[in-house]
Structure formats: structure tokens, C-alpha cells
């Protein structure tokens, strides 16, 4: 069964796999998480604002994105971003955007919809009493949000936000459909070039498994420590 396996191929391709592939994966994950949380929090505030011209578009956007598969969203932005670039810069033809930027825009805006729902739940879980206490001291909406509500909401949602990041980390593998070289893409390239599908895909699976498992265990320990402090 495992007679024809060449484990050496894995060792030889390690530099390419990690310096090119994994670096892309990690960069994309971190940037999309940061951007996604920022935009997601803004969307959450818009949805909770009670101001219809803000709440409606934000809600529509979030619901639209959450009803679409990520693969479809990747295709959408892959074709759309050059045209947006054209419209934004007023040039004559669609701007040639690199696959990296297309992927970054896609994942940031996609995850923003999911981070929005997490932050919305977090903000709503802060008791009304806290809001009233802040207001009673004369704080404006903006001040009470920045000083009182959002800091507490973030702290409460840290485990969920981190778990979403781990999911993002796994989802980046889907850039495969636009032929971008992330970690899986790199493994795939070698697999196809050298005909070593079994070795490369098994190795990729193991690497993703180890990283995700370690990360989610760390999040769980963090959750325990936060729970004790409460």
C-alpha cells in the first residue's frame, strides 16, 4: 500500500512550501483578520445604530455575504476588483490587480460579515446598565462606545474571534480556485509536477492539522484563564 512513497520529496520541497506557500497563507490570514475585525466592528455599530440608512445597507451586506459560498465570493471579487479599480482611478481599462490583492480584498470583506455578527453579539451582551451608567455620567454615544462598551465587548469575544481566525486560516486554502500559490497551492504544484499526490497532500493535511489543533488548544486554555478571572 505505501510501497511507492517517496518521503524525500517532502524534505526537498520544504523551503518552497514554507517560505513561499505558508508565508502567503499566514500573511493573508493575519491581514484579513485585522481588516475583517475593523470593518466587521464598523458594520456591527451600523447595524446597532438604529439609523435606518446605516443599519439597512450594513444588514443587507452581511446577510448577502453570509448566504454565499466563499468560492463564489472569491470568483466575484476576482472579476470585480479590476473593474472597481478602473472606476476608482478613472482609467480606460480594468486595472490589473495581482491575485494577492484580489484575495486580500476578498477575504477581508468576506470575513468582515462574520466578524460583524460576532461583534454584534458581543456588544449586545453588555448589559443595558453599563450603557446607562456611562450615559448618566454625561458621556456621549461615541465616548461610551469607545471607553466602556467596545473594550468589554472585545474582551468577551476574544475566544470566538480567535476561533474565527483559525477558520479563516483554513479557508485561505480556497484561493486554489484562482490558482494562487498559498501553502496548499504550493503543495499541489509540486504534487502535479512530480506526480507525488499522496505524499504532498498527506503532508499538507498534517501541517494544517497540527497548526489548527495547536491554535485551538491555545484558545481553549485562554478561555479557561479568562473564565477564572471573571
Amino acid at each position: 500500500m505505501f510501497a511507492n512513497i517517496d518521503w524525500n520529496i517532502i524534505v526537498r520541497s520544504l523551503p518552497y512550501l514554507f517560505f513561499d506557500g505558508m508565508r502567503f497563507t499566514v500573511t493573508l490570514t493575519l491581514l484579513a483578520t485585522a481588516g475583517g475585525i475593523v470593518i466587521g466592528t464598523l458594520l456591527a455599530l451600523m447595524r446597532l445604530s438604529g439609523i435606518v440608512p446605516l443599519a439597512l445597507p450594513a444588514g443587507a451586506y452581511v446577510n448577502l455575504i453570509r448566504s454565499m459560498p466563499l468560492v463564489l465570493v472569491i470568483f466575484w471579487f476576482f472579476f470585480l476588483v479590476p473593474y472597481i479599480g478602473q472606476w476608482a482611478t478613472g482609467s480606460e481599462r480594468p486595472i490589473q490587480v495581482g491575485a494577492f490583492w484580489s484575495a486580500l480584498v476578498t477575504f477581508t470583506l468576506f470575513e468582515a460579515a462574520y466578524f460583524c455578527e460576532i461583534m454584534r453579539a458581543g456588544i449586545q451582551s453588555i448589559s443595558r446598565g453599563q450603557v446607562q451608567a456611562a450615559q448618566a455620567l454625561g458621556m456621549t454615544y461615541k465616548t461610551s462606545m469607545i471607553e466602556i462598551i467596545l473594550p468589554q465587548a472585545f474582551r468577551n469575544m476574544v475566544p470566538v474571534l480567535l476561533t474565527q481566525t483559525i477558520i479563516l486560516f483554513q479557508d485561505t486554502s480556497l484561493v486554489y480556485v484562482i490558482s494562487v500559490t498559498d501553502f496548499l497551492g504550493a503543495a499541489s504544484k509540486i504534487a502535479q509536477r512530480d506526480g507525488r499526490l499522496v505524499e504532498m497532500y498527506l503532508f499538507a493535511a498534517v501541517v494544517y492539522f497540527v497548526i489548527s489543533l495547536a491554535a485551538s488548544h491555545w484558545v481553549r486554555r485562554l478561555q479557561h484563564r479568562i473564565a477564572i478571572i471573571r
Partner: protein
């Protein structure tokens, strides 16, 4: 160089002349639903089993259940698809491997099994959470009136646990429908693949993807409403369930 819109493209025939584009999209949607429903069956059966295992008093069953969940949750779905489709035939004995490779609709079967097991891990999480959210006294009450442990699960714990987790289960069902799109990488012509292929043949990229998006939205609305109807039908009077915010899609 502006994009030329042509919404009539849906009624034009695809290059192989037999079907209009809108029909191709509908076929794609059909494959999406067939894959999703078949996988959902697997997910429910295995997920419930594993979820229950993780709440039993036996430490070994709990460990096996946990390992199962960790395995399927920590590997990206796409990688799992590749393992089933590309790697499995290679590591099987030659005869079975060859049979697998020439199977008709291989991508469908692979997608169903892969998606089913992937989702079963998530269902297991929900089932476990649902059972654990019940007061410990429920299990004791069941045993106290003479039911065996399996009977207690069957008649006391699971009926309530499933009602509690209907909302997150509905979410998982929607996820399975969306995740079926990943199977396009192994050749399944589901809805997203159909839209992609339409965009490649007709060059009407945005019309094609809009069509697919609209169909996904409609499926979403139908499933959400269906689930709400189901929730109302099986609701126990006077009982309020819980659903906490979780990550994922």
C-alpha cells in the same frame, strides 16, 4: 473598455447546443442540493452518534469522539476533498483503487462522503452542547424510573437536545449547501461550477455569477423559513431554548 451587459444571455444556448444557460445553472443547483442533502444525512447520523459518545460516562468513548471531531475540524475542507479524491485510490489495494478511479460520478460520491464526515464533526459539537445544556437531573431522572442509559438518551435527553439545537443545526445545513461548492475542485458541476463554466463560455461573467448568487439566496430563504416552521411545529410549550454566538460559517 467597458463591460458589455447582456442579461438575455440566460436564454441563449450553451456551446454544446442542447440547453440554455439558465437550465445549466438549474442543473448545477440540482447537483448542489443533491450533494448537500445526501451529505447532510451522513452528517446527522454520524454527528449524533459521535455527539452522544462524547457525553457518555465512558472515558474511552469520549476520547474517541473527541479525536474524531478534532480530526475533521482541523483540516481544511478542500484538503480533505483532495485526500478522498486523489489520495484514497492510491493507497488502497490496486484493484479497489482502479475501480474507484473509473467510477461514474466519482466526484459526487467523494463530495458527499467528504462533506458528510466534515460536517458530522460540527454536528457532533452541537449535539454534545445540546445534551450538556440539559440539567444533569434529567439523566438521573430517566435512570431513576428504570430506563437504561441508551433508553434515557433516546426518550429523555435527545428529544429535548435536538429541539434546543435546531437553530445551530439549521446553520450547519446552510453551511453544507455553501460548502458543496468546494467540490468544484474535484470536478463536480454544482451551481458555482456551472456559473463559472457559463462565464467562461459566454464571457458574461457578472450575469453568470449574479444568477448563481440569486439562486443561493433563494435556497437560503427557503431553508431559513423551512427551519422556522419546523421549530414552531416541534416546539415544547413553555420552554425557551438557547443559542450562543459561535464562530464559523
Amino acid at each position: 473598455m467597458r463591460y458589455h451587459w447582456n442579461w438575455g444571455i440566460f436564454f441563449e444556448l450553451s456551446p454544446d447546443g442542447t440547453y440554455a444557460y439558465w437550465q445549466l445553472l438549474l442543473f448545477g443547483a440540482g447537483w448542489t442540493l443533491a450533494t448537500a442533502l445526501s451529505a447532510w444525512l451522513i452528517a446527522l447520523v454520524f454527528g449524533s452518534l459521535v455527539g452522544v459518545m462524547r457525553t457518555t460516562p465512558s472515558p474511552w468513548l469520549v476520547r474517541i469522539g473527541n479525536a474524531y471531531v478534532e480530526l475533521f475540524r482541523n483540516i481544511p475542507l478542500l484538503v480533505q476533498m483532495f485526500l478522498w479524491y486523489f489520495v484514497l485510490p492510491e493507497v488502497m489495494p490496486e484493484a479497489i483503487g482502479d475501480w474507484l478511479k473509473q467510477l461514474n460520478n466519482a466526484s459526487f460520491y467523494n463530495a458527499v462522503i467528504c462533506l458528510g464526515l466534515y460536517t458530522s464533526a460540527r454536528v457532533a459539537e452541537q449535539v454534545k452542547a445540546g445534551i450538556l445544556s440539559l440539567r444533569g437531573g434529567q439523566r438521573m431522572a430517566g435512570l431513576a424510573i428504570g430506563l437504561t442509559l441508551p433508553q434515557t438518551y433516546r426518550y429523555v435527553l435527545l428529544p429535548m437536545a435536538f429541539r434546543i439545537i435546531l437553530p445551530p443545526l439549521a446553520s450547519e445545513f446552510l453551511n453544507i449547501i455553501k460548502n458543496s461548492s468546494v467540490a468544484l475542485t474535484i470536478g463536480l458541476i454544482e451551481l458555482t461550477a456551472a456559473a463559472r463554466s457559463m462565464s467562461e463560455f459566454s464571457f458574461q461573467v457578472f450575469e453568470a455569477f449574479t444568477g448563481a448568487t440569486l439562486i443561493y439566496i433563494v435556497i437560503n430563504i427557503v431553508v431559513v423559513n423551512g427551519m422556522q416552521m419546523l421549530e414552531r411545529r416541534v416546539a415544547v410549550p413553555g420552554f425557551i431554548g438557547t443559542a450562543k454566538p459561535v464562530a464559523g460559517h
